[in-house]
Symmetry: C2
Subunit: 196 residues, 2 copies
DNA sequence: ATCCTAGTGGCAGAGACTGCCATTGTCAAC
DNA sequence: GTTGACAATGGCAGTCTCTGCCACTAGGAT
């Protein structure tokens, strides 16, 4: 099998996946998360309901994909920071970088709008957090090889930036800020003042 | 209507509620969160499935009750701290206090065990976080009346202790520590070192 | 004894999700 | 171009969650 054919398949799958996701978000925005059924989404995307579940494990799963997409890049951003940089600076730079990517995505506002209006959608979004935390925690753990209470520290260091990111993005959305970096900087400046 | 009869009614309701919850947690521990159906729980608690849903909005809802119970007390603990105390100290004292209460509950270990083993259960547990955050954020907002970016700050101050609490409790459970205060103190000491 | 009301159970039905099997398409070797 | 494997899809049946509705019952108030 040639390399291109394999990639072609993968590309086509991604196409279907995107079609489903886009259709779903649009329907959520138009009709509300709760009133939209999986059948609606499948029909709008031109696939069978059965196929929907082959691409997404649940209806709520759709709400997390916006963030999960940047999972590797967040971990990578953390790993890429210089080794002697303080944890605080690592978090700050990584969050700033990812926040900008998230804010740049055309449908980010739609996703947040849905999550804001529907508690069920927001919960579904949060359902991805354990997975996300684990991912980030592993990235931090590599910087902590000889630290006391490695895992406790890693988990805390994973939870903080995710909380900061979440707070920043929601504030950015609700207040119609132009530059999300500014909001994120504010969050970290507040974080820094905590001990002072 | 006399005062006592109303209280009696409430007491009876709480009895049913506890019966359902206890039965559910026991079943979860024994058979796993996913394999237990609502019918199982209802039968084990001696009520109809229909009644189950009058006490808990969903099967997953059961997983959050352990924490939600302390919702008001956490907010109250925050409000009770002296007004000139730093945010950091407010968080520290409040979390320590609540952590001790949570750790003292006889079924806390069971709940964490279930949440640890089943991703679905953990997600259901996290589903209560928005509600919880909102609650804590309101408590902090009262301390911030004249602060810039009130709500951004309040949300961050709500997210941090909840993250700290979550991390501390899980670590305490997994490492079989005797005193959860020590673990919580460690978390906050790590938090304090962040800017230093 | 008789209302009145809150709590309950049963029933029907929608929607989420899964396992299974048949069908279709796609690529590769012939 | 035909064929043969293999992945993706669709349809179907069935389970489970959750809700609206209505009938029933128990306990307190009158």
């Amino acid at each position: 099998m040639t390399d291109s054919s394999g990639k072609l398949q993968a590309r086509k799958q991604q196409l279907v996946r995107d079609a489903i996701w886009d259709a779903a978000i649009d329907l959520f925005v138009a009709n509300g998360f709760d009133s939209v059924t999986v059948d609606d989404i499948a029909q709008s995307a031109g696939v069978s309901p059965r196929t929907f579940f082959r691409y997404f494990s649940s209806k709520g799963d759709l709400m997390g994909q916006g963030i999960v997409t940047y999972r590797e890049q967040l971990a990578e951003a953390i790993r890429a920071r210089p080794r002697r940089e303080s944890h605080f600076e690592v978090m700050r730079h990584s969050v700033l970088q990812i926040a900008e990517m998230v804010a740049g995505h055309p449908r980010t506002r739609s996703v947040i709008a849905v999550a804001t209006k529907s508690p069920g959608a927001r919960e579904a979004q949060l359902a991805h957090r354990p997975q996300l935390e684990e991912f980030v925690a592993r990235a931090f753990a590599q910087r902590l090889r000889n630290s006391r209470q490695n895992d406790l520290r890693a988990r805390l260091l994973a939870g903080l930036p995710l909380t900061a990111l979440d707070v920043a993005i929601r504030y950015w959305y609700e207040h119609g800020e132009e530059d999300i970096r500014k909001t994120a900087e504010n969050v970290f400046s507040m974080l820094g003042e905590l001990t002072g």
